[in-house]
Each structure stands twice: as structure tokens, then as C-alpha cells.
Amino acid sequence: MKLSQLEPGQAGVIKEFTDLEMSVKLMEMGCLPGESIVVERLAPLGDPMAITVSGYQLSLRMREASTIILQ
């Protein structure tokens, strides 16, 4: 399952990434394999999304969220 498929309020744990370049940037921001993610909300127009990860809030576009595979 991809992160982009989660609804607001749902949670998941990061398993792996489908895009190497994006994964480097995401990991720098604390999105690591094994880290749990909560989808807090979507932007009013449905994209991007806001998640809580590593104790803070991060926003990312759906396209970027779709490169994160959850356990």
C-alpha cells in the first residue's frame, strides 16, 4: 500500500521507497523505513497532504507520497 492511498486520520509504517532520488530527500526529512506516519489532513483541493512523522508535521505532494510504500 502506498502512503498516497491513506485517508486523513489513518496511520502506517514506512516499508520502502519506489524512487531513489525522492527517497534520499524524504529520508533526510525523517521519513525512514520503520518510521510510523499519520496522515493529518489533505490540502483543501486534495493535494498536497500533511503528515506527522518523527514528531513533526511535513507536507508533501500526492506524487511524492505515492513513492512511499507502507507495511
Partner: protein, 704 residues
């Protein structure tokens, strides 16, 4: 003053680094550039308890040593290169205690560059409130460096931090964070021996970033490239492995030094605010309400100081004329330099107010929510969520707005934003629009309440938005992206704005504007003054003779004569000659040579148009008195054909021209400063002038 000790402030964005910088240095700071690049470098001095003085350098905030923008590259360039003029003796690493894990990633990278380092653990109060307990001594022992808990906003722990700075030795004490060699053993070994690099992590950084680091010469960079190919080094894979290794280390460090109680209060507090501020309906409503308030303030609050500045310069001009001997030098001083200076300084209130609001929105964390809400719409036309703020600011003035595009990391997004912002109807266009609309649009009301004139003005504003969006969309397809666009952005928790920070931002932006754009504007004003006050030899003498002849003296009062002389002189000046010589070009747009003169004189600043019209038609009173200009212009007829000059076709054609044309030297100068290349202002000038001509032509012929 050079300081006994060079201290670099390094940390994540939103870690409170700038607040700490302000607290450490007070107002004792200055902004310059980092060597060779255009990134703002803030330096200041701080007195240490042992009476030594420390030079504090504020580096751009970054999440990692692998830069996402040009600003961030400076961090690795300064820290990895020992001979860099900004290479520090000591690093104060500012870490957000409420978000330690992600903050420590950059710490472990910086620590491996083996420069003496101290951790300033900021926002301890915030961490405590969200149930995070940090054992400072254990953390310090595990990392091998001094850790000083502080709260920069409340100015707590600052003395202890200064003490730690003064005690810091010259030898780095930090423990190794990861085994760098293990990531690419042979490659690191070979780079170290061939390029004489001591540190394994510097060698690895060279491998990753040799193409962008300015301190490597081309020969060295090529050699690194060869070594990479020899060992088939895959930069992104190694970087991913490094990041994972570093987080392993961090997890081990944090495992028994940080305790998190569940039910974090601060976070949910911020979440609740977000539920309203980024709500589907209220989110947009609140945003537009804030916007409305900002515009009202920019117009109403700046009105008084602006007229004060203008009056001051009028007074200075009059005084100068009174006390200085009449002559060319006095005229140059008053009508060239003082007028130019007034044109620069009059923008200060608007710039100050706009930046005060922007800095409050940024400081509270609201700005990143605006970006979050608008990203999807903006992306469709080739912009990013971060473009919304500069474009809205464009309604006030393009100059500060273009200055505020700096926080757009993506190069293409930023360039497009800079290119289209001057299309937005700025406040300098307002006097032109109101004058021309009142000339040709009847003051009737439709259905009793919709004013036709108001409707026409609104149409001009809507046109500006539409044109900006269309041009952005076109540029999206022309400009080549330098990097893949992405939008991974921290949403910081809501906080109260720091008022002294707001004041400092205002002061800095105003200073930058006056010093940078001011030079160009004054230079151009002086040139325009020369063009408008001198003419081909002999012409001015003839005019003076003509109007001093008895025939005129009997017919007119001396005041009227002065006006007639001024008008005739302008007509025969170089600007007038220029206006006449461009007449064939502008005739298809419906403009005569007098409008041509106004186009020439308002080349540096649009608002000059009204003033020039006043001079040209010898109107009594000062430039800002629009009713008299309007009355005069309404009845002007073409000397040859006897037709009215300002027909609706001409007036609308002229408005369209001003809507598109880049008649603003301050903007050109700012775009040059922000892009550091004449290419961009040139392209902008050409495309905007082209559109102006094309659409004026179209409108004139449709309405004629």
C-alpha cells in the same frame, strides 16, 4: 573589527537560529554576501565573558549538507574547505529540542567535518510542554560535545552559551558518528591520497558534490570524476546508505537520553488551528480576509508617510532653489538627484509595511499553510505554492515582492514567479488608470449601484492576474527545469511572532532596497533629467526669446508665461525630440508625440506619467492635483484634424500599454540583483514591451 573567534551558527530551518543570532549580536550586525555568491551573509559580534569578542556568522538554515538550493550549498563550502574566508573556528549547532531526531541528522554530518562544535539545544520550554524530556548531560556525554539548553525567544541560557563558547578549545572533541570509510572504502582512500584530503567525510563530500563545489579547480573535479568511474560510485545510493547509517546512530543516542510522554499537547494545539486555517471553505475565506486587511493597510497606512516624504522633498527642493545660486548644478541637484531620491524613498513605507506583514505571516507559521493550500492551483500554471505570496504582494509593489521570492527553492518556479510578478497591477499604475478612466468612462451607475468607472478599474486588475497566469503557463513550457520539482516542506507549529524580528526584517529589506535599487533609479533619473531639460543647440534660446517678446508679455501673466515656456522647452528637449522621433512607432497605437514624451519620461517609473502630462499641458498646480489635469486633457484636440486626442480608444490603448510595459527601473534593478544576470531583466523587458505594443495595437484598432 574582526573578532578573536569566528563562530558559525548552523542548524535546520525553523530551529530558531536567526532568533539566537539576534539575541547574541543585538543590533550589532551587518548583511553582506558570502564570497562569490549572492547569498545574504549576516555577521555580528558578541562579547564573551572573558572579554574576547566573537564574530558570529549566521548560515542559511538547511536540513542536510546535501543542498537543495544554492543558498544551502554555502554551508558545505564553508565547512569543508579550510581555506574558505568564512571557515569557522567553532560551530554552534542550533537544534530544536522538540524535534531532536531530524535536527541531529545535520549535526552528525557537520560533526564528521571535525570542527570544534557546541550544541545549543533550543526551545527547551516547548519540548517540555509537549512532554519531551531530554537528559542533557547524557546527550553531551554520548556525543562528546558540550550541550547547552537555551530558549532563544525567552533569552534563557544565553550567558551559559557564551561561556561555553569562550571555553571551547581548538581541538574537535566530538565522537565519530558513523564509519564514513565503510560507505565507499576504496574511493574515499584514493581521493584522500590524491587530493591530499585529511578527513574521510570531506573526501566523500567531494565525491558527491565535486561538480558544484567552487573551491575545487576543474582539474581536481575531473580527477574526482575519474576516480568515481573507476569504483563505479553511485552517488544517490551511497547518500541513502549514509542517511540510514546516521539515523541508526541517532536512534542509539536518543534511545536512553530522550523520553517522550504520550499525548503531546503542543502538537494537537497546532493541529486544531490548522483544522480551521486550512479548512476547505474557512481556509480560503480567512486567507482573503487577511489579504484584504494587508492591502488596506498598505494603502491607508503608507499614504500619510508617503505624502510626508514627498512634501519633505518638495520643501528641500524649494529651499535649495532659494538658497543656492541658480544654475545648472542646482537644477541637477534638485530636479535630477533630489527628484530621483524622492522617487526611491517614497516607496519605503509600502516596502516596510508589506515586509512587516510578510515577516509576521512567516514567523507565525501561517505562510507555509498558505503554500500548502495553493500548491495545487499554482502548479497547474507552472508555479509552486510558494509563488502565491510574491504575486499577491505585486498588487502593492513588484520590488519587495521579487525580493521575497528567495524562499522558493526550485529554480524554475522562482524564475517564472520573478518574470510574471511585474505584470500584476501595482500601486504605481493606479494613478494612471484612475486618470484615464475618469477621462473616457462616464461616471454613471448601472442598476443604481455598479459604477462603470469602478468596473473598468476592476477589469484592469483582473486583466493583470489573467495575463500573469497565462505568461506563467507559457514559460512553464519554455524554461527548462534544472532540477526535478518537489514539495517536501516542514509545517512548523504555530507560534507568536517575534516583534523585534519583524522590525529587523523591515529595516533590512528597506536598507537593501534603498542601497541596491536606489543607485540605479537615481542614475536613470539624472539621465532623464538631462534629456528633459536640455535640447539640441539653439532651440531653448529661441523659445526664451519668443516668450519674452513684448507681444507675449502683454498677452499673458508672468505665471502663464512660465508655464508656456516650460511646455515649449519640454517639447524641444531631447526627451521631446525622442517623443517625436518615436511617433511613427507609437502612432498605430493611437499615441501622439506628447504621449510619446510621457512614455519616455515615465520609462523609469510609471507614476511620472501624470506629472509629465501636467507639465506638457501647462497645467496649473502641482503634479498630484489630478482634477485639473483631467479637465485640460478632456478638451485637447489634435491641431491638424481637430479631433479629440483622448478618445476611449486612445485611453484604453494607453492603459493596456501601461498594464503590460515594464516601465519601472526599480523592478529592472531588483530583478538584476535577484538573478545576478542581465539576461533575465532583458528578457522580461523585451517580452513585456512586446505584449504592451501588441495588445495596445489590438485594443486601439478594435475600439477606433
Amino acid at each position: 573589527m574582526n573578532g578573536d573567534l569566528k563562530v558559525a551558527l548552523i542548524g535546520n530551518p525553523n530551529s530558531g537560529k536567526s532568533t539566537l543570532f539576534n539575541v547574541l549580536t543585538g543590533l550589532n550586525q551587518k548583511i553582506g554576501n558570502f564570497p562569490g555568491v549572492t547569498v545574504d551573509k549576516k555577521t555580528g559580534y558578541s562579547k564573551l565573558p572573558d572579554q574576547r569578542s566573537a564574530q558570529i556568522i549566521d548560515f542559511p538554515g538547511t536540513y542536510s549538507l546535501y543542498p537543495k538550493s544554492k543558498d544551502e550549498l554555502i554551508v558545505v563550502e564553508a565547512l569543508a574547505h579550510k581555506k574558505s574566508p568564512v571557515h569557522p573556528d567553532l560551530i554552534v549547532f542550533v537544534a530544536d529540542a522538540s524535534n531532536l531526531k531530524r535536527n541531529l541528522l545535520l549535526y552528525t554530518q557537520v560533526a564528521d567535518l571535525k570542527i570544534p562544535i557546541i550544541i545549543a539545544l533550543n526551545m527547551m520550554d516547548l519540548a517540555k510542554r509537549s512532554g519531551i524530556e531530554i537528559s542533557v548531560d547524557a546527550l553531551s556525554k554520548k556525543l562528546g560535545v558540550p550541550v547547552v539548553p537555551i530558549s532563544a525567544r525567552k533569552q534563557e541560557g544565553i550567558e551559559q552559551l557564551k561561556e561555553a563558547i569562550s571555553y571551547a578549545g581548538k581541538i574537535p572533541l566530538q565522537n565519530d558518528c558513523i564509519e564514513v570509510e565503510a560507505l565507499a572504502p576504496e574511493l574515499v582512500q584514493k581521493i584522500r591520497s590524491e587530493l591530499q584530503v585529511d578527513l574521510p567525510y570531506v573526501a566523500l563530500q567531494l565525491a558527491h558534490q565535486h561538480e558544484s563545489l567552487s573551491f575545487l579547480d576543474p582539474h581536481e573535479s575531473d580527477r574526482v570524476e575519474e576516480i568515481e568511474q573507476e569504483f563505479s560510485f553511485h552517488s544517490q545510493k551511497v547518500q541513502a546508505a549514509e542517511t540510514i547509517a546516521r539515523y541508526h546512530f541517532i536512534n542509539e543516542v536518543l534511545f536512553d537520553t530522550v523520553k517522550i510522554k504520550t499525548g503531546a499537547k503542543q502538537e494537537s494545539h497546532s493541529n486544531q488551528i490548522d483544522k480551521i486555517l486550512t479548512h476547505k471553505v474557512f481556509g480560503f475565506l480567512i486567507f482573503f480576509a487577511i489579504l484584504f486587511f494587508i492591502f488596506q493597510s498598505i494603502f491607508s497606512w503608507s499614504e500619510y508617510p508617503m505624502s510626508l516624504i514627498e512634501q519633505l522633498f518638495v520643501w528641500m527642493g524649494n529651499t535649495a532653489h532659494q538658497f543656492l545660486p541658480a544654475g545648472v548644478l542646482t537644477d541637477l541637484l534638485v530636479d535630477g538627484i533630489l527628484a530621483g531620491l524622492s522617487g526611491v524613498l517614497v516607496f519605503i513605507p509600502q516596502i516596510a509595511i508589506l515586509f512587516a506583514f510578510l515577516s509576521i505571516l512567516e514567523d507565525t507559521g501561517y505562510m507555509s499553510r498558505v503554500t500548502f493550500m495553493f500548491d495545487k492551483i499554482m502548479r497547474k500554471v507552472g508555479l509552486s505554492g510558494k509563488s502565491i505570496i510574491p504575486m499577491i504582494g505585486g498588487f502593492a509593489c513588484a520590488v519587495p515582492s521579487i525580493m521575497s521570492t528567495r524562499n522558493i527553492e526550485n529554480w524554475k518556479d522562482r524564475m517564472i514567479t520573478i518574470m510574471v510578478t511585474p505584470l500584476i497591477a501595482c500601486s504605481a499604475r493606479l494613478p494612471i488608470y484612475t486618470l484615464l478612466i475618469s477621462l473616457v468612462v462616464p461616471a454613471n451607475k448601472v442598476w443604481g449601484f455598479i459604477s462603470l468607472q469602478g468596473l473598468a478599474l476592476m477589469a484592469m486588475y483582473v486583466l493583470s492576474i489573467v495575463s500573469a497566469i497565462v505568461v506563467a503557463w507559457v514559460m512553464k513550457h519554455i524554461l527548462k527545469a534544472r532540477e526535478r520539482g518537489y514539495f517536501i516542506m516542514e509545517l512548523p507549529v504555530y507560534r507568536m511572532p517575534r516583534w523585534n524580528n519583524v522590525l529587523l526584517t523591515m529595516y533590512e529589506k528597506v536598507k537593501t532596497f534603498v542601497l541596491q535599487a536606489g543607485k540605479v533609479i537615481i542614475a536613470v533619473s539624472v539621465v532623464l533629467w538631462v534629456l528633459a531639460s536640455y535640447g539640441p543647440p539653439g532651440r531653448f534660446e529661441r523659445i526664451e526669446k519668443q516668450y519674452q517678446s513684448t507681444e507675449y508679455i502683454q498677452k499673458y501673466t508672468s505665471h502663464e508665461l512660465d508655464q508656456l515656456t516650460a511646455s515649449a522647452k519640454l517639447e524641444n528637449s531631447f526627451a521631446g525630440v525622442l517623443g517625436k522621433s518615436i511617433e511613427p512607432v507609437i502612432k498605430p497605437l493611437g499615441f501622439d508625440w506628447k504621449i510619446g514624451i510621457a512614455l519616455v519620461t515615465s520609462f523609469a517609473a510609471r507614476e511620472v506619467f501624470v506629472g509629465t502630462m501636467a507639465t506638457l499641458y501647462s497645467v496649473d498646480g502641482d503634479d498630484s492635483d489630478m482634477t485639473s489635469v483631467r479637465a485640460k486633457m478632456q478638451n485637447i484636440r489634435n491641431a491638424e484634424t481637430g479631433e479629440l486626442v483622448f478618445t476611449p480608444a486612445v485611453a484604453f490603448s494607453l492603459m493596456i500599454f501601461y498594464a503590460f510595459a515594464m516601465q519601472c527601473m526599480s523592478t529592472v534593478a531588483t530583478v538584476f540583483r535577484e538573478t545576478k544576470h542581465w539576461k533575465w531583466p532583458t528578457i522580461q523587458f523585451v517580452y513585456m514591451s512586446g505584449l504592451a505594443y501588441l495588445f495596445s495595437l489590438l485594443v486601439y484598432h478594435l475600439l477606433k
